[in-house]
Structure formats: structure tokens, C-alpha cells
Amino acid sequence: MADEDGVRRRDFINIAAVSAAGVAGVGVVIPLVSQMSASADVLAASSTEVDISSIKPGQAIKAIFRKQPVFVRNLTPKEIAEANAVDAASLRDPQTLEERTKEGKENWLITMGVCTHLGCVPLGAGEGEAKGEFGGYFCPCHGSVYDTAARIRKGPAPKNLEVPAYEFTSDTVVKIG
């Protein structure tokens, strides 16, 4: 029953059936895979407001954003000077303090408290915690050391501590997310 170009009815049915099964297979896999992604309720809890009025220069607090810690740190002039004294181009993840803070609020360093290596909470935000040899943060898990601009200076972490999206809704309140 081959027609002029040699394609038989059977060949067409075969290709159509296998193609349909393939498309159906992909269609089934999509929900099976996608169900594991973050659910709507997890995504909904994605902004938080922090009152920073009680944080004195040299102090820091840990807030919670997306169930992870955020470090809000009031830098001292000395810490700002230390951060600016470094040639940013020489760093593993080159960024200046200005790029990591809001204009006019360079003393407010707001970063995720999540080490960019494997996600531990670095020390240095709490009272009396080790700040590491660059005066910023020190991750006890695998020894990553961050400076006073929370930039990676030593150890296995590849990136600076992430700066989340945030804005100052007033002089004393920050909205993160």
C-alpha cells in the first residue's frame, strides 16, 4: 500500500503513535518534577520589615527573611575605612562597599547570613562572636572569612555574602524583599 513517495500507512501510524506517547510522557513528567519546587505559601513569605533604630555603630542583628538569617550591621567609620582601603579589583568577587550599600547609608551593611560556600550561618553578627581576621564574618563550617563589607577574602566560598533586595521605608525601618 505504498503511495508515490514510498510512505506507507503503517509508517505514519507508527510515527504518530510514538510521537503522541513521547509528548504525553513529557506532559506527565512536568507536574511530577514541578511539584518539588517551592510552593506558593513558601514563595508568599518573601518580604520582611526590620526596625534598625536600636542598632548602635559596631553592632549587628540577625533578622529572618525567607526562613534564613539576614545580617543588618551598623558599620563603624573605622570598618568603612577598612573596607574602602582594599582595592576591589584584587578581590575574588570584586565589589566596593558603595556597590553593596544604599547611597547615603553606607554604614548600613545588609546581607544574607548565609555563607556562599554551602549555606552555614557565619559568625560575627552576634555579641562576642568571632569576626575572623578581616573583621567581618567567619564561617565555622569550612573556614570562609569575610571582611567588613561582607566580601569573601579567604576560604572556599566563591562569592560575597549576598545583598538581598531592600529599601529604607523610613530612617529606622528597612523592608527586605
Binding site: V33, M36, S37, A38, S39, V42, K62, I64, R66, K67, Q68, P69, R92, G113, V114, T116, H117, L118, G119, C120, V121, P122, C139, P140, C141, H142, G143, G155, P156, A157, P158
Partner: protein, 435 residues
């Protein structure tokens, strides 16, 4: 699937004959672990560890199913349900500690089993597939062990989950979305705990499936043996039942004594006190370490502290850690020596005892130590040796080594002579006469 002299299953009872026609499961058992499976007569005690691994898997599945009857995978109550199991459930303490220490026992047994394979060249042809399936089982065991350790939702559980899923974030481009997909969120939480429980229940049965394939693949060429010389005649073998059933039974007895000492006198010796603190996403314990059986590979992960050309240190560490196990898949082809057993390979044997074993022990020690000097530097040296052992030393040694003369047969290695030998080659005869 077996040697020609293997005994044939002949059921006497009419019911067993009927069964043999309809569903020959007794025949399968007879040929797999009964009188129908001839085994080399010279197996030493290291050959008991396969059976012991099966015992461990059984202990884990039985105690695990019981633990699941009392556990709830919800971050609000998971920690408490484990404590409730230990304190309030009848014999709950026994189930919980048998399961936790059973995991450690399983890994002790499996490490001996794997290193038996390294020493005696069990991975070589014609048993490559047995080896490959074994590495798959080991990877599944590591995944299962990790998932299970997260379930009590203590501090080590939480931070272990965070660090291990963090490994995936090292993958370029897709890393972070992949990590969020694995966790079902930005950090380990209820979604992660639930799916970890689901998978922790699933994977042991996948392991059972691969174990069946592992044994199936083994029974095609038959078991290896300490000489590495293949079975030639019936005098080289004895039936699995009763000989090795009895010997494995003896090994199970010794294992049961040692396991009981661990379970009843030191139930928390291999655990971490921090895991008796409920999970706190805001505070990382000062010294987080995985379970002891991950230490050698954890040390390799941490050994990479500098970027390597364009590859970030983090990705290097992750690739090296997985590579440390994936390299085992290539072992049957990296080792070109036709001689299997380390007993007849003087150079390979030296590198095994004075190279691989010390490197593994050093990595093991460093993996449990804090991430500070001198441990990082020591791990770097040991990790370097580890990879050199598989990728350079084994291929080179197998090319240049002059092996010792092999016995003509297993029978000869046991009795000193082999009367049944018929096809003795001319040059082999002189060696045998000298011996």
C-alpha cells in the same frame, strides 16, 4: 549460570514438585544460596562481608519500618516524635538505637567489603558488572544515610541538609534553582523534611533491587577467591550450602556480639550531641561534621580552598568529592594487570597497604576535624595521593609489575597438589613441581 557439576534441584515431595512446575522459587533459592551454587573452597573471612551486608540491610529495613510507625515528618513535631519513640514507645529505644547504629554497622561492613574488592581485584573481568552495581549500591547507601540523618530534625540534621544540598548550588547556572527545587524552598523546611522522609523510605527498596542484580551478576562467573585463579574443576569448589551458610552464620554471630556491644553499651558514641538540640535555622553549630562514614569524602570536599584556573574552589571541591567515588566505576579498566589477587602482586600490595589505606585513614581523620590548619593541608596531600593512586599508580603498576607465580589451581593452593589437574601447561608443571 553455574558450573556443570553444580547439583541439580530435585524436589521429592509432591507439593514441592508441583511448586517447581508452577513457580520455581525454591529452585531459585537452591541455585542461589543452596547446594546448587558451588563456591571456591579457599574463601577467607573477608568473603563473609557480603552476607553481613545483607544482614545489615535487613536490620535497617525492619527497624526503619518500625521507626516510621512512630515518626512524623513535620518540622514542628519531628524532633519530639523521635524522643517520644525512645522514651515512651515499648522497646522504642531499642528500635531507634538499632537503626542509628545499624547504619554505622552497615558502613563498617561495606567498607571492608569494598576494600576486600580492592585488594583481591574482585572488580576485574569477568566481574566488572558486579563491581559497577556495587558502587551504585554504595552511592544509594550514602544518599539513604544522609536522608535518614536529617529526619530527627536536630541541629546536625538541619545543617547537614543545608550543607549537602548546598553542594548542588556549586553547579554553574542551574545550581541555585536546582538546590531550591531539591529543598522545595530557600532553606531546609517542612517541604524538604517531608520529601526526605519519603525518599528515605523508598531508597532502601531500590537498594534491595540493585542487590538482587549484584548477586545475579556475581553468580554468572561465580565468586572470586583469595588466589584470583578461576575455578577449573569440581575439586576447586564446595557447595554454598552447607559450607558457606555455616561459615556466614558464624560471621553473623561475631557481628551480632560486636553490634550488641555498640548498641547496648555505647549507643550514642557515633552520634553528635548537637543533634539533641532541635533544629535552629538561625544558628550554625560551631563544628558541623557529617556522620563518620562520610568523613573521607568530606575531607576531600574541604581540601579545595583555591580557585583552579577558571573553576571556583567550591565547584572543584564538589567535583572532587563525587569524583572520589565515581573513579571507582573506571577501576576495572584502569587496572590492566591480568593478575587479580594482591597476594601475587608485590608492588600493588605495597601501594595498597602503605598508600591507599593510610591515605583513606588520614582523610577519615581530617574529615572529622575542624576546618583549620594543619588539617586542610594534610587533607590536600592525602586527597592528591588518593586520586593519584587510582589514576596514575594503578595503571602504571599494572604495566610494570612482575607478578609472583600463581598456583595452577585453587585446589593446589589449598592442598599443595592437584591430582585432578589434566590440562597442565608445560611451563606451569615445573613451577608446580618446585612448589
Amino acid at each position: 549460570m553455574s558450573f556443570p557439576w553444580a547439583k541439580e534441584y530435585k524436589p521429592n515431595h509432591p507439593f514441592m514438585q508441583w511448586m517447581d512446575e508452577k513457580l520455581p522459587v525454591p529452585r531459585l533459592v537452591y541455585n542461589a544460596v543452596g547446594s546448587g551454587y558451588p563456591v571456591p573452597r579457599n574463601l577467607n573471612y573477608f568473603w563473609n562481608f557480603g552476607f553481613l551486608a545483607l544482614i545489615c540491610l535487613t536490620i535497617q529495613i525492619v527497624t526503619g519500618i518500625i521507626m516510621a510507625m512512630h515518626y512524623a515528618a513535620n518540622t514542628a513535631v519531628a524532633f519530639d516524635t523521635i524522643e517520644m519513640t525512645v522514651r515512651d514507645v515499648n522497646w522504642g529505644w531499642l528500635m531507634r538505637y538499632a537503626h542509628a547504629n545499624g547504619a554505622s554497622a552497615f558502613f563498617v561492613v561495606i567498607y571492608v567489603h569494598i576494600f576486600r574488592g580492592f585488594y583481591y581485584g574482585s572488580y576485574k573481568a569477568p566481574r566488572e558488572m558486579v563491581w559497577l552495581l556495587g558502587v551504585v549500591i554504595f552511592l544509594l547507601m550514602m544518599a539513604t544515610g544522609f536522608l535518614g540523618y536529617v529526619l530527627p530534625w536536630g541541629q546536625m540534621s538541619f545543617w547537614g541538609a543545608k550543607v549537602i544540598t548546598g553542594l548542588f548550588s556549586a553547579i554553574p547556572l542551574v545550581g541555585e534553582p536546582l538546590q531550591q527545587w531539591l529543598l522545595g524552598g530557600f532553606a531546609p523546611d517542612n517541604a524538604a523534611l517531608n520529601r526526605f522522609f519519603s525518599l528515605h523510605y523508598l531508597l532502601p527498596f531500590v537498594i534491595v533491587g540493585v542487590v538482587v542484580l549484584h548477586i545475579w551478576a556475581l553468580h554468572i562467573p561465580g565468586s572470586s577467591n583469595p588466589t584470583g585463579v578461576e575455578v577449573k574443576t569440581e575439586s576447586d569448589t564446595v557447595p554454598f550450602y552447607p559450607y558457606f551458610v555455616a561459615k556466614d552464620g558464624w560471621a553473623v554471630g561475631v557481628f551480632a556480639i560486636l553490634f550488641s556491644i555498640m548498641l547496648f553499651y555505647f549507643p550514642n558514641a557515633l552520634g553528635h550531641p548537637d543533634n539533641y538540640i532541635p533544629a535552629n535555622p538561625m544558628s550554625t553549630p560551631a563544628h558541623i561534621v557529617p556522620e563518620w562514614y562520610f568523613w573521607p569524602f568530606y575531607a576531600i570536599l574541604r581540601a579545595f580552598t583555591q580557585d583552579f584556573f577558571f573553576i571556583p574552589a567550591k565547584l572543584m571541591g564538589v567535583m572532587a568529592m563525587f569524583g572520589a567515588i565515581l573513579v571507582w566505576f573506571f577501576l576495572p579498566w584502569l587496572d590492566k594487570s591480568p593478575v587479580r589477587s594482591g597476594n601475587y602482586r608485590p608492588l600493588y600490595r605495597k601501594f595498597f597497604w602503605f598508600g591507599l589505606i593510610p591515605a583513606m585513614l588520614v582523610l577519615f581523620y581530617c574529615g572529622g576535624a575542624p576546618a583549620a590548619e594543619p588539617y586542610v593541608m594534610i587533607s590536600q596531600i592525602a586527597a592528591l595521593y588518593y586520586f593519584a593512586h587510582f589514576l596514575i599508580i594503578i595503571p602504571v603498576v599494572s604495566a610494570i609489575e612482575k607478578p609472583l607465580p600463581l598456583p595452577y589451581s585453587i585446589t593446589e593452593s589449598v592442598l599443595g597438589h592437584d591430582e585432578g589437574a589434566q590440562l597442565r601447561p608445560a611451563h606451569g608443571a615445573t613451577e608446580a613441581n618446585l612448589a
